[in-house]
Amino acid sequence: MTMPIDPDLMRDPDQNKRRDLTIAAAAIVVCVVLPFVFPNRYLIGQGVTLFLWVAVVSQWNLVFGVGGIFSLAQLAIFAVGGYSAAMLALYLNVSLWFGMFLGGLVATGFSLIVGLACLRLSGAYVALLTLALATALQVLIITDTTCFMRQGVTCMTFTGGSRGLSRFGDFGFTAMLGRANAPLGNYFLAFAVALAAMLFAYLVIYSPIGLAFRAIRDNKLYSIGRGISSVRFQLLIFGASAFFTGMAGAVFAGHYRAIGANILDTSLLLFLLSMMVIGGLGRFWGPLAGTTALLLFDEAMKELGEWRLAGLGAILLLSVIFMPNGIVGLFRSRPAAR
């Protein structure tokens, strides 16, 4: 990356600044205005979920879609961020506001280790390795029964075990905004994290770094031949994609005032994977489109709760076969470059 690069070569044909700005402005206005127009607790809660998953999926998309690395560790990174913030608050009385950033940092460290472990692997092997790590993490948390400290008569384990961690407080919005407006605090905090994550993803995707990621994804040998260090960039992508994911984990913990090993369930992992795939892998707007679409789908399936998984599976299957570029891919005139 010492050679100057012709700016024309670097320009991504997908990038359309005016279009992106218009969509972003519209989406931001909708998100800001909506909770005031419909001040409904349920809607605001769903908004928090939407923002948190957008944050996670947009970062996962950097690894999976842009980098082409089939990592399934994203929820483990999310959990590491959330658990770190919760434990710091519970054991060391660190405020969640500060813990949020620390959680992001711990998650980044964890993700770098995962990235190191995956360095020599590709394709399905990465999927198996990261799935093994996530599963092991969940099993170790659930089966944790060693006493760490006593809370009255009950015994607390270090990780909270199968019951999860709670009683570590929240972001304190009740004191700041009053009981009635407290959910709005969480709403806008999650919104801010999602916005920061999206902005970060935008900068990465359309920067020379993003170009290098795509070059490695599309032709590893050739890009190495052109002087791109695949080791450096793979570690960079794992590290970079983890910070906001970990932060989202901390916001999750603060919003629900609890965090448990169930966030490492395979079903949730598959739900988020579906969001990413259905939205459009490697596309900037993919995570937002996919997350919104699947949360709406989930809402619609509330009536038919027992068919939810089959519906999800069918959508995933059909979209891989008939819509390989996702929802975002439908709005393109040019055939995909992948």
Binding site: R120, L128, V277, G313, I315, L316, L317, V320
Partner: protein, 292 residues
């Protein structure tokens, strides 16, 4: 001495369960580069089909079991026709097929849950009784499971190594284009491998449900174990998978007895992580080129 015998026996039973489901998985990967995430769902379907034919319709075992095996074969063929064939020309076949088969798994598991309920059921087709070795009770059913799996694996190894079909499979595994140019009908080979994989999954589903109970999510754990076996042996190794399955079965039983149940799965997963980092081609493979 008692503990030792107990460990060996439960290790062998675990190993034979793992080996049959691992073989179905590893064959698909070795021959076609397909990592079938619906494998666990195939196990579930096989087990429930045996329950449906044998328990619900009350058919005798010699009709119910072939019926369940046929269900596995049909599922394998359906996934070939519906997923693998349309996606085969896709540039990212290896990863898209993983995502697509995840979708298949969700659909199958949900259908089974709707059809039979989420509660565990008892598999009617299992052998009763058993015998004692040095005060350790060995159920006949475990002996049967063990024998069936070893016979099956030896048979499959023979098919892959010595027969015309086996040669075709190995040719496709080594070089798809070249095999096609030599006049091998690759579509037929794909169908054959998918059918065998479905068959193996159904068999291991039936065996598993006779040892434990039927439940719509019973496939996940054996699939995970099958992944572990495949990675440790080297994905695509048939003979290696057999050895690795039994070795891991005994290892798991030992860890469970000596260190506690809690550490068995994390230890196996740690083994996977270490293997993938230091020897991604697997412990039992000599070199990168010799798939199958």
């Amino acid at each position: 001495m008692d503990t030792f015998i107990q460990i060996v026996i439960s290790g062998l039973v675990l190993g034979s369960m793992y080996s049959v489901s691992a073989i179905g998985l590893t064959l698909l990967w070795g021959a076609l580069n397909v990592l079938n995430m619906a494998h666990g769902a195939f196990l579930v379907a096989g087990g429930y089909a045996a329950y449906y034919f044998g328990g619900y319709l009350g058919l005798p075992a010699y009709v119910a079991i072939p019926g369940a095996l046929a269900t596995g074969v049909v599922l394998g063929l359906l996934v070939y026709a519906g997923v693998a064939r349309p996606l085969r020309k896709n540039a990212n076949f290896e990863t898209t097929v993983i995502i697509a088969t995840v979708g298949v798994a969700l659909v199958i598991e949900n259908l089974v849950q709707k059809g039979f309920g989420a509660y565990p059921l008892k598999q009617p087709l299992s052998l009763q009784g058993g015998f004692n070795i040095a005060q350790t009770f060995v159920p006949w059913n475990s002996v049967l499971v063990c024998v069936v799996s070893i016979v099956l694996l030896v048979l499959l190894d023979f098919v892959v190594r010595k027969t015309r079909y086996g040669r075709m499979i190995r040719a496709v595994a080594q070089n798809y284009e070249a095999a096609r140019l030599m006049g091998i009908r690759t579509g037929a080979v794909y169908r054959f491998v998918f059918a065998i994989s479905g068959l193996m999954a159904a068999i291991s589903g039936i065996m598993l449900s006779t040892a434990t109970t039927l439940s719509p999510t019973m496939g996940y754990d054996p699939m995970l174990k099958a992944f572990i076996v495949c990675v440790i042996a080297g994905l695509g190794e048939v003979r290696g998978a057999l050895i690795a399955a039994f070795a891991l079965g005994v290892l798991e039983a030992t860890v469970q007895f000596q260190l506690g149940v809690r550490f068995a799965l994390p230890l196996l997963l740690l083994l996977v992580v270490v293997t993938l980092i230091f020897r991604p081609q697997g412990l039992l493979r000599k070199n990168e080129a010799s798939r199958l």
